[in-house]
Amino acid sequence: MGLFSSCSCGRHDSQADHDNEERVVEEAVLRAVVRRDLLSRIGRSAALAAVSAFFPLGAAKEAFAQGGGKLEKHKLKVGFIPITCATPIIMAHPMGFYAKHGLDVEVVKTAGWAVIRDKTLNKEYDAAHMLSPMPLAITLGAGATAAPYTMPAVENINGQAITLAIKHKDKRDPKTWKGFKFAVPFDYSMHNYLLRYYVAEHGLDPDRDIQIRAVPPPEMVANLRADNIDGFLAPDPVNQRAVYDGVGFIHTLSKEIWDGHPCCAFAASKEFVTTMPNTYRALLKSILDATAYARKSENRKEIAAAIAPANYLNQPVTVVEQVLTGTFADGLGNVRKVPDRIDFDPFPWHSFAVWILTQMKRWGQIKGDVDYQKVAREVFLATDATRLMAEVGLTPPKSTYKSFSVMGRAFDPMKPKEYVDSFAIKRA
């Protein structure tokens, strides 16, 4: 970009070059959003006009023009926990998405959330798979030393479930769960908040009427089998594995509690993001690219086969396949078909962060006043996601806030305090 450049944006040598690049971006976007047969039927310019109505084409062209500079580091280590939430992070390795963006990434299986947190904090990992509340908690210093953390992308939405031991197959009403022992993956997890929310909506106090303990996902089935716990709200493939082994049944999918909830996230320290911007961008782009691929249901079988081996999830392929395709055995003899049992949508909605913060506040994990919007903005890096999502053919939303409802109760991200106050069962 020079002083004397002669196109309308100032980055190209000539207006022709400028137009050319714009056209490439438009084409890419069109191809990603509009089905081919439709394109040929309605014509390119009509389709483009239609797409521009809901897709920030301008922003996409802008982002493309900035491009990527030289990578500061191309050998990276990314930690993951062996669950299907990590699908984009894991599959990007065997399916070559990291390599495509010039990175040599080693994906390292890690034993638990506390370990993944510590290994990321002490820089053994450049970035890691985390639960989406974790970067918020780390930034606030709840349950960790406060370190500025960022969450550039959500990995998956939905994809969790409440699984109960087979012996409870007649206790489908949560009101009968008094005295149950439940496992969740971590204190700072969507699982914990969703389970608390679910039982609280049914009139049980999650701290007094039931017991909730943190158990790393891989150990949950073994514990359920040993009757140490009555059930869990866990990520997959744990739920499906419990069914596969005949120890549990799927009581409810998490999408039936809150359809479209975020779960796991791709997280990195603020330091990594600021000192290695190009590497960070390439890494994020690989993951977004993988996410875009994972969104398409026709690719799910292939992905299941790629991530099931011992090097990654270490699970029977059929278990992973049932999770990803949504055609699954429920443990009670029925085959259910829920294609969006798990889905992949990388956009880190600020409203998600605000909701998570309200639950942290509700259950007393954070004390004092919280500037919900400010923390959300600092940790959930929506701007980068917006820019890079467009480049890989996804459709980023225009706003970073949306309202949604959880079990029929509406949530307004602009009124977090009122939301917390509206609950009858709370610790705050």
């Binding site: 299986k109 082994d245 005949g246 011992a310 270490n314 055609t327 029925n334």
Partner: protein
């Protein structure tokens, strides 16, 4: 000779009974009416007939063991390495932590054993630190050392230092007075006295300490690796637990036992080599 043969036969017989009982206990039960075939395809064989997945039979374990023995050193990426590679990682960590501990424990043990003053000064620390489970150090180590490998080695270091320290001190302190007096009358220099008189005299006790230490270190490394993961036989067991593959876990357990036995055998040989008859 005869009694040895008899003992061997008895051992084999016990093994036979154990495996036989195991085999009988894991025989497949008569199949109950299976669920519909579409459902059955999606779940494990046992779940399809309405029961929990079963414990592996001796034959299953044998097959797994054969797989591991056939290809113990494969490397299919950072999270999938052969059992031999994992064992090598664990042994390396144990030897590293153990050697570091020996480097510290034996000189300090000497000091404590030779000087009652130092003994009394250090005793409270030793008494407090000794009973702490080495794994309790793990979170602290991860936090301060900022490296999981170094932390694992540190944990081994911490757990193997105490038996060596205490045994060395004890061995040194209980060297017979007469020998020290003889050295004194011959005006032997302190260094020479330490190496020529005290060390050989205390060596059997020191070796006992080392043997105990290496045993503990081998016990602890498995737990430590299960905690931090990455590599090692402990991680292998953890990873197979995650996969609920009991046959693989059993293979791991067997391997842990064999290596532990080998380490102990090695140190018992050393111990024998330095033992003397009075």
């Amino acid at each position: 000779m005869r009694s040895r043969l008899l003992a061997g036969t008895l051992s084999l017989l016990l093994l036979g009974i154990l495996v036989g009982a195991w085999h009988l206990a894991t025989l497949p039960k008569g199949a109950v009416a299976a669920a519909d075939s579409e459902y059955a395809k999606l779940v494990g064989a046992q779940a399809a007939v309405g029961s929990k997945s079963a414990f592996p039979s001796p034959a299953d374990l044998g097959q797994k063991l054969l797989e591991h023995v056939r290809d113990p050193f494969y490397d299919r990426g950072p999270n999938d390495k052969g059992i031999g590679v994992q064992l090598a990682y664990s042994i390396l960590r144990v030897l590293l932590g153990f050697s570091l501990a020996a480097l510290v424990a034996i000189p300090v043990g000497f000091l404590i054993g030779m000087s009652p003053l130092v003994y009394r000064a250090l005793d409270p620390f030793i008494q407090v630190l000794k009973p702490i489970s080495p794994l309790a150090w793990m979170p602290l180590a991860l936090f301060t050392l900022k490296d999981s490998n170094v932390s694992a080695v540190f944990v081994i270091f911490v757990c193997s230092i105490w038996p060596m320290l205490i045994n060395t001190a004890f061995g040194v302190a209980s060297v017979r007075r007469e020998w020290l007096n003889v050295a004194r009358t011959l005006e032997v220099s302190p260094v020479r006295k330490a190496f020529m008189v005290i060390l050989p005299a205390a060596a059997p006790t020191i070796m006992t300490g080392m043997r105990i230490s290496v045993g503990i270190a081998w016990l602890v490394i498995v737990a430590a690796e299960m905690l931090v993961g990455g590599t090692g036989i402990g991680y292998f067991v953890w990873n197979e637990w995650n996969n609920l593959s009991i046959a693989n876990i059993l293979s791991g357990i067997l391997a842990i036992g064999l290596v532990g036995m080998a380490l102990d055998f090695f140190f018992s040989r050393l111990q024998k080599a330095v033992t003397y008859a009075e």
